[in-house]
């Protein structure tokens, strides 16, 4: 198994480290040429979604990545990755053009939903995918305001949706790559194996 990690900006090394700990091979995608390699899944890391979205578009990656996800490539987006996958996003700058994103998952995400850095927090909550509690680190995080279609809610904190799945797409508003617990990544690997 080989997983592509989008490495345009953000905390991609942390995902790579976790995959290696789980004995899974991965490679970085920094441009179109990297994307051509064979892959079994894609991780979109935390970071700034406006930066990553713009780079996806400018580097000619937006259309091919969207196409791959729409045709079933398993994808896991954390924080900024969740925003990039969301079909609708609230909380964009009123004065700026809406930043580009993949928009493949049937949900509405609220950007910076917990406020600025002072609103960042750590907690533990039940993750349905592993049927146990997992540590959750939220950094200027979004959450999912509403879902549509066949989106399955996998975790909620204070009755706000913070993890969900729709077929081949998995998203978390928190950062499992920042904590030592590997349950969420293992769940994603299982999604790939059962594809």
């Amino acid at each position: 198994m080989r997983i592509a990690v989008l490495a345009l900006q953000g905390a991609f090394l942390e995902h790579e480290k976790m995959l290696r700990e789980l004995g899974v091979d991965c490679f970085e995608v920094r441009q179109l040429q990297d994307w051509q390699q064979k892959k079994d899944g894609l991780i979109i890391p935390g970071g700034e979604s406006t930066t990553q979205g713009k780079l996806l578009r400018d580097l000619g990656l937006l259309a091919p990545v969207r196409e791959a996800v729409e045709s079933g490539l398993p994808v896991f987006g954390t924080c900024a990755g969740l925003i990039l996958l969301a079909h609708d996003v609230e909380g964009n700058s009123p004065s700026a053009p809406v930043p580009p994103r993949l928009g493949t998952m049937a949900m509405t995400a609220a950007r910076n939903a917990y406020g600025r850095q002072l609103g960042s927090f750590h907690t533990e909550a039940f993750f349905k995918g592993a049927k146990c509690n997992v540590p959750m680190t939220f950094i200027r995080a979004p959450y999912i305001m509403k879902t549509a279609g066949n989106v399955e809610v996998l975790a909620s904190v204070d009755s706000r949706i913070v993890a969900a799945r729709q077929g081949n797409q998995l998203v978390t508003a928190f950062h499992p790559e920042l904590d030592a617990d590997t349950h969420v990544h293992e769940y994603f690997l299982k999604m790939i194996k059962n594809r």
Partner: protein
């Protein structure tokens, strides 16, 4: 380390591989965000103008910072003077995402830095070498940057700081465990942080390049030397075509190892900031706060 400090280190991790740009107006902040900045540094005057104006340089007007916070969704940072606890408290009160306790402003205290462990908001501090970096981290800084000479457009100092830092880190990695106590003494830094660097081969916090970065090539150079991201101050809004230069530097940081792409990015950017070199300036800001 507290939970809050951990979260603050985590925010710096999210900025990695990105470019943090100095902006002085909401309009510039929007240009920076649209160009792909991962954060902006709100300040009244960019370092080149601070240098030109002389006199005492202080924290920016909170109203001006709030205007920038309202203009963008990316994190907003702001500078306070070295040792100026009250300025830091004010920035925390307006919920700034990161405070830069910065030598670019006039120091408020010639001996003591702020005890950053007493704050909820995160701090980034400058460091010319491992010794300064570890002292700032001990004081609670959750992100480090080089102290390249700001407002000059001359990257030479950022390069020497980054090279020195990396070689000092490698030196610690190569030491025997029983040599670390003496190393801590020499570095004038806490033993536990020295031990961390010895074991992990890196700082316990994210390390960015700052000061004098003016071109995509400068940014790529700093990334190749081990920076985890780049601050660009005067280099963008003192240049001929800020939006284009800003976008090119963002892409250069992502693809810093691809010379062909860097060549494309370096084309036709208009005039770079004029720049002055370190021998032509009267105030070496990097000497402030050691």
């Amino acid at each position: 380390m507290t939970n809050r400090q951990e979260l603050n280190r985590n925010l710096a991790q999210m900025l990695k591989g990105g470019v943090i740009m100095d902006v002085t107006t909401p309009e510039q902040a929007r240009i920076a965000e649209a160009a792909g900045a991962c954060a902006v540094m709100a300040l009244e005057r960019i370092p080149a103008d601070i240098r030109a104006a002389g006199g005492v340089s202080r924290m920016s007007d909170p109203k001006m910072i709030k205007g920038i916070q309202e203009a963008v969704t990316i994190p907003v940072m702001a500078k306070c003077r070295i040792g100026h606890i009250a300025e830091a408290q004010i920035l925390q009160a307006i919920e700034i995402d990161y405070i830069d306790e910065s030598e670019v402003l006039s120091p408020a205290d010639n001996i003591y830095h702020i005890d950053k462990t007493q704050f909820e908001v995160p701090f980034v501090c400058g460091a010319r070498n491992l010794s300064e970096a570890l002292r700032r981290i001990a004081e609670g800084a959750t992100m480090i940057r080089t102290k390249g000479e700001p407002g000059t457009g001359d990257v030479v100092q950022a390069v020497s700081h980054m090279r020195l830092m990396q070689s000092q880190i490698q030196e610690l990695v190569g030491k025997r465990e029983d040599e670390l106590f003496e190393a801590a003494k020499q570095l004038q830094a806490p033993y536990d942080l020295v031990k961390y660097v010895h074991e992990n081969g890196k700082l316990p916090v994210v390390n960015f390049a700052a000061g004098g970065v003016a071109t995509p090539a400068d940014a790529a150079l700093m990334m190749q030397l081990g920076a985890e991201g780049v601050f660009v101050g005067s280099g963008i809004f003192k240049s001929g075509d800020p939006a284009k230069r800003a976008a090119a530097i963002v892409k250069a940081v992502t693809n810093y190892n691809d010379p062909k792409e860097l060549a494309n990015l370096s084309e036709d950017l208009g005039e770079a900031m004029v720049g002055i070199n370190e021998h032509e300036i009267e105030v070496l800001m990097a000497e402030r706060g050691q």
